[in-house]
Amino acid sequence: MDVIWDAIRDAIRLLAGGDQQTYEIIWLSLRVSVSATAIAFALGLPLGMLLAFGRFRGRWPVLALVNTGMGLPPVVVGLVVTVLLWRSGPLGDLGLLFTPTAMVIAQASIGAPLVAGLSAAALQHVDPDFRVQMQAIGASPARALWEVAVEARLPLIAAGMAAFGALISEVGAAMMVGGNIAGETRVLTTAAVLEASRGEFALAVALGLILLTVAFTVNLALTTLQQRGRP
């Protein structure tokens, strides 16, 4: 149990004491995971709309596939992205392996099905008559779709929070495609794994506590946005 007390002390020391390295790691974690969540949202929401309202053959199997993708193991995604980005791989010319961009690509791939699956469910939950009524009062189909999204903003923002939570806390893909290189691709989760493997348990737990603090701050902002104007 000493480890937990030491961890709390370490976390406060790292956060309040102005430890440059810790700030850099926090900033990189945020940059990578927020970017990846944004891209996952930009890809996942249209796909979710298509799955919710599109009428095409094979919609159910695709939906099932997306829902399966909600549980993609990060380490598998990381491995596939690594092989694609290898110097000898098809995208090797880009020289992206072991960079933050590679981490964003991998995390966005993990997050997109999550956003798509959750947003399809959120959009389908809106009364189907709503979209019909919108079009009846003169809204274009695209506009009506947008209004449905606005109507479903609470669960959609929740989908964003779920994706962000999954991405900032994943370690498999970040480790695999980033390489946990100090000062370049070391994020909170990979740093925690490293410290644990070095036997620095208190420091590892402290990094975990910092991760939770960061996630809480982001979610507090999103929740404020989500709950605005509600009692």
Binding site: L28, R31, V32, V34, S35, A36, T37, A38, I39, F41, A42, W86, R87, S88, G92, L94, G95, L96, L97, F98, T99, P100, T101, V104, M134, I137, G138, A139, S140, A142, R143, W146, E147, A149, V150, R153, G179, N180, I181, A182, E184, A196, S197, R198, G199, L225
Partner: protein, 292 residues
Amino acid sequence: MPHSSVLVQKRSVSRLVAITSSILVVGLAGCGEGESGGKGSLIVATTTSTRDSGLLDVLIPAFEQDSGIEVKTLAVGSGEALELGERGEADVLLVHSPAAEEELMATGKAGQRRLVMHNDFVVVGPAGDPARIAGKPVAEAFAGVADAEASFVSRGDDSGTHSAELGFWEDAGVQPGGGWYSETGQGMGATLRVADERSAYTLADRGTYLAQPGELEILVEGDPDLLNVYHVIDMTAKAGDRVNVDGAFSFADWIVSTEAQELIGAFGKDEYGRALFTPDAGKTEAQVEAAA
């Protein structure tokens, strides 16, 4: 997003548009930042033992400062490091798995293999020493552990330490396996901790053992077989078109230079009261063994 002039909830729409686009801007900004020299940089693949002991934190910044080359260090098991080298995904290797290194050299894809330094392995175990191996030569000690079926924790990760361990079982004439033998598949630090928790024996490099306080004690040391020798191997264009051949050669040259060798020789004296590695550049393996 498409806009038409319907006046339904116009405010929330523009708000959402604003939010979404600002998220995307943040997202894309995050993408572009901090990509300095993805192509020109040098990838050094090395073992977890050099990282976990802290040696890399001393050597890499010194090399970067001397050469102006930006280094990406991957600390992985020797098996993975050698594989990355052979595929041309890493430019230069600092590894300790002699048999596997010679296999890599035989492919002709590597430049030179140069001796850098050594430390030694130690057999550690619980203070009670249930298999009574203290002070024995390493092969006898391993045979003793197997005879007593005392718990032994193996790295099991194809690392240099793991291949050394497998060699000792062979020397002892034992096929390890069964309830007393377990594999962690993890690095040295993690494996030492598992062994500690289970009061089991394990093979460790001295550096990581010293860096990680625990209950286990050194039971076997000083046997010439326990030498843990590190070589640097620079990869060539034969391993892949994108290998940073010049950078790899500079690094290999630098790590056997007087300056780097002095850094290696001094490393650990402040913290542990003794050096963790012995610099060996220019020596032959026979000389290193004779000195030990």
